[in-house]
């Protein structure tokens, strides 16, 4: 039915893609960078293209407030990333934006668990951002 | 003002009857520090002995070197026509007139310059207005001795940029 496996088209160039992200204030890489490096074989050696992550923005908005006590009981987590794709010095994609959102319930009587759930959810959102980024890179690098 | 007037030219015609003499071809009139050059000069003497020189050129070039008694400032200039009244030392420049005096450049349709005292009057013509470029004080001093440094911009009507005193 016309489907073929990703990367099987010659020269999709995804593996060996060099993932660059400048971290001035933190040592732990955000999950998005881990997933991108995992999916592109760590980008070692003869990288033909450079994927430069310009910015990662994790924000949170109060989605709803409990009628009972006015405390926030649902948050909207938003993660956005912007990136450039450069191959042999030429910028194929410039300042591309990807974003994802999740609504998550919040029970402040289980604050430690709620924080752990948010960390886990952020990791999943970053994995989705990685999928969206690599899809755009795939379409841009396709011959 | 007692300097003699000396005139050189390729040809000269003197008419005793009218007292008017005409000089043509590389005409240069010098009188002490003043030096005027052009292509055609007519000198006439009025009945009260007043000497009057009418110079034409493409353009007429004017230069007055600084003299030691300091009252007459050094100038250079040019114009399509020039009238020099020796007695009261006045230069009348007409037509695309330009006068450079201690760093400042004055341009206009008609310029009258009093050699003694350095007073200059400029008037506009039908289309060309009076334009003055004044250098800030510090640079002005240097402008006097050397060549005329502040040659006006090239968009000047006649465009010839020949250093005077050729």
């Amino acid at each position: 039915c016309g489907f073929h496996m990703a990367g099987s088209v010659a020269g999709s160039g995804l593996d060996g893609l060099q993932v660059e992200y400048e971290q001035r204030y933190r040592v732990l890489p955000p999950p998005l960078i881990d997933v991108l490096r995992e999916r592109t074989g760590g980008g070692d050696g003869q990288a033909s293209a450079r994927l430069v992550i310009r910015g990662i923005d994790d924000t949170r908005r109060v989605l709803s407030v409990s009628p009972q006590d006015g405390r926030a009981n649902a948050f909207e987590l938003i993660s956005e990333a912007s990136f450039d794709l450069i191959r042999d010095g030429e910028t194929l994609l410039r300042d591309q934006q990807v974003s994802t959102q999740r609504d998550v319930g919040f029970d402040d009587s289980r604050r430690l668990a709620a924080d752990a759930e948010s960390r886990d959810l952020r990791a999943a959102m970053h994995a989705e951002l990685a999928d969206l980024i690599l899809l755009r890179v795939e379409t841009a690098l396709a011959p | 003002q007692g300097f003699p007037i000396d005139i050189e030219a390729d040809r000269a015609e003197v008419s005793q009857k009218t007292g008017v003499s005409t000089y043509t071809g590389n005409v240069v009139l010098t009188r002490g520090p003043l030096r005027l050059s052009g292509s055609r000069l007519t000198v006439s003497r009025s009945d009260d002995g007043e000497i009057r020189a009418e110079l034409e050129g493409e353009p007429v070039q004017i230069r007055r070197d600084p003299d030691d008694d300091e009252d007459g400032a050094a100038i250079t200039g040019r114009a399509n026509r020039l009238t020099y009244r020796a007695a009261d030392a006045v230069l009348e420049l007409n037509g695309s007139a330009v006068l450079n005096r201690d760093g400042d450049a004055v341009r206009g349709d008609r310029i009258r310059h009093f050699l003694d005292g350095g007073r200059t009057e400029a008037m506009r013509g039908d289309d060309e207005r009076v334009r003055i470029t004044i250098q800030p004080e510090t640079a002005a001093g240097a402008g006097v001795e050397g060549e005329d440094t502040s040659e006006p911009p090239a968009d000047d009507a006649d465009g010839t940029d020949t250093p005077d005193g050729g």
């Binding site: 496996m5 995804l14 924000t59 109060v62 709803s64 407030v65 409990s66 009981n73 | 207005r129 334009r131």
Partner: protein, 709 residues
Amino acid sequence: GICPLPPGIPAAEPGANAEVTADQAILDGPLATVTGNVRLEQAGQALTAPALEYDGTAQRVIANDGLRYRGRGIQLSAEQADVRLDSGIGEFIGTDYALTTNGGRGQAASVAALGGESYRLTDTTYTTCAGDEPAWQLAADRIELDRNRGRGEAFDTVLRVGGIPLFYTPYLNFPIDDERHTGLLTPTLGHSTDDGAELALPYYINLAPNYDATITPRLLSRRGLQLGGEFRYLHAHHRGEVAAEYLPSDQRFGDDRSLLRANHEGRFGRYLGLQLDATRVSDEAYFEDLGTTLSGTSQSQLQRLLRLTLAAPGVRAAVLAQDYQPVLADTLNNRPDPFERLPAAQISLLTPNRGPQLGLDAELVRFDRNDAVPTRRTDLRPRLLWQHDALGWFVRGEAAYRYTHYQPDTGPTLERDIGSASLDVGLRLRRQMDNGWLQTLEPRLFYLYTGYEDQSALPLFDTAVADLHFHRLFARNRFVGVDRIGDANQLTVGLTTRFIDPASGRDVLSLGLGRVFGFRDLRVNAPVTGVIGYDDQDSDVVATAALKPTQHWESRLALQASPGNDRINRASVRVGYDDGPARHVSLGYRYFRDLRQLPGGTTETLEQVDLRLAWQIDEQWQVINRWNYSLDNRQSVEMLAGVGYRPSCCWATRVAFRRFVRDATGERASALLFQVELTGLGRFGDDIWSLLDRDIVRAGSQFTNLRYR
């Protein structure tokens, strides 16, 4: 933008020489007397006049029968002027002036140019409105404009609005550009039933390019004088801010009120990072009484976290101390406070080789809380991991053993050890459709086996049931946290497909469907009421859909339904149009069955509709609206409706009505908010717009997952 300036003369080219054009000129020594619509240009300044005198040596211009000037940030027409063009020092008499930087303009008996780009205006008016009848205008004996400090100071000033004198003030300070200058920022003047009249005068101090501070005295007529201060620093690898607020003897509260807040993040070289995120208030009702933002007033606990992290190839470790201060101004409910983690040490190791990898996740935490026995929990999880990602397909096999040990200060130790194995296989298929679009199809299977052990005796420190998002179907533990490891013998089947528009690369339509099929009844459950997303064996079905037909339109659906007892447990729908902050509208519906346990044992189900609207209707009118309506309580929870009216380029007003849940008793309160902005002078009244914007908060970096995947 600023109001259109009155017509001025064309600006001058920069250049040291003075260029004069005129009908007639008389030069006598350094003095030039020039007449006949004169134009003079020098050093970026232009001046036109019927006649003027110019002294070349002093570069001084004297014009006595009218002139117009433009340069050094100001344009004006005057009856007389005596100005030195080189230093810009001089005086214009009888002027009509306008500042080309911020559009401030008016008439002044005299404008003294003080050199640089500073001016002293005497007996002057000042407004940023265009036209002869300005909506507002300052009349002052003297106004000092200092372009280097970017500030204007008015002395003995009367503010007239619509021609009516509104108030007199001996001194007024206002910005004349928007750079970071030391000086007073826009004052806020407001009124509320609780605090009475409120006047805040923030003073900004630009200490250095990477240091600044803001001191904010805030007068609350019914409480007292509060002093706030904030210090920010930004270095190559360290940044942060420290803030404090102090309100001595709050008349309505009867005691001192204070807030301390510090956050910092930084790294020492390649591997070591430090992070601090701490907020402390003097009493639980602090934010309710003195909070200014929605995200502030809806917090229930304030975190204090200090964390040192290490990240090197194959090694990630952290040592941290964390506790919380509850800010619930109610004494009646016995809502449990979060446990403190004083200290906690985490380490995650994974051999960075290709092929089979060895990993270890270990955590040692000492939990404490005033009403509980402090307990040290040690959790070790060695694992063997084999993962291979070949773009078109991937496989992840893992076998892990987990040992957890609880050591309370007094009382018996508890232990738990469980083995688990999982296999995760996925395909990434692509198809070029005949209309040129790209379709992706990604089936995924995830088998998980986890042993069973009765954990009902184990304490609950950081564990709960998580919302069943799509990715949770592929989690190795259906609980979040360490205190419960869900037994499992299950297979998760998941499928996602996306339709990509080749032109923009945008995923126009994305669909996801998944479910966990259990081969055995589930025996471990957390003693928490409410939806856990699983029935006896299988999980709820989770479906997600996202449609982005254009760059601005987006609609999202997430559904979690239990086929077993045929009901929906979670549903969340959002349709929105977003084209920037001034053109945004979105409608959302959320249904969370048994979201959380309320004091008194009942569980709260959340079913709410929310509308968010910020729309610039035309040049003048803007509408903002935010509205949360709770369907099960059949009442609006949070409502903010406002209108912004900007009739001219120099003033705007905003009126908003807000109805919100005031405190933990669920009591409602409403407030009418009013704000006037005189562009270029200041904003007065409640800061309505930031109430909306500032509810988007940057998530702290403690949200970075330490463990390797």
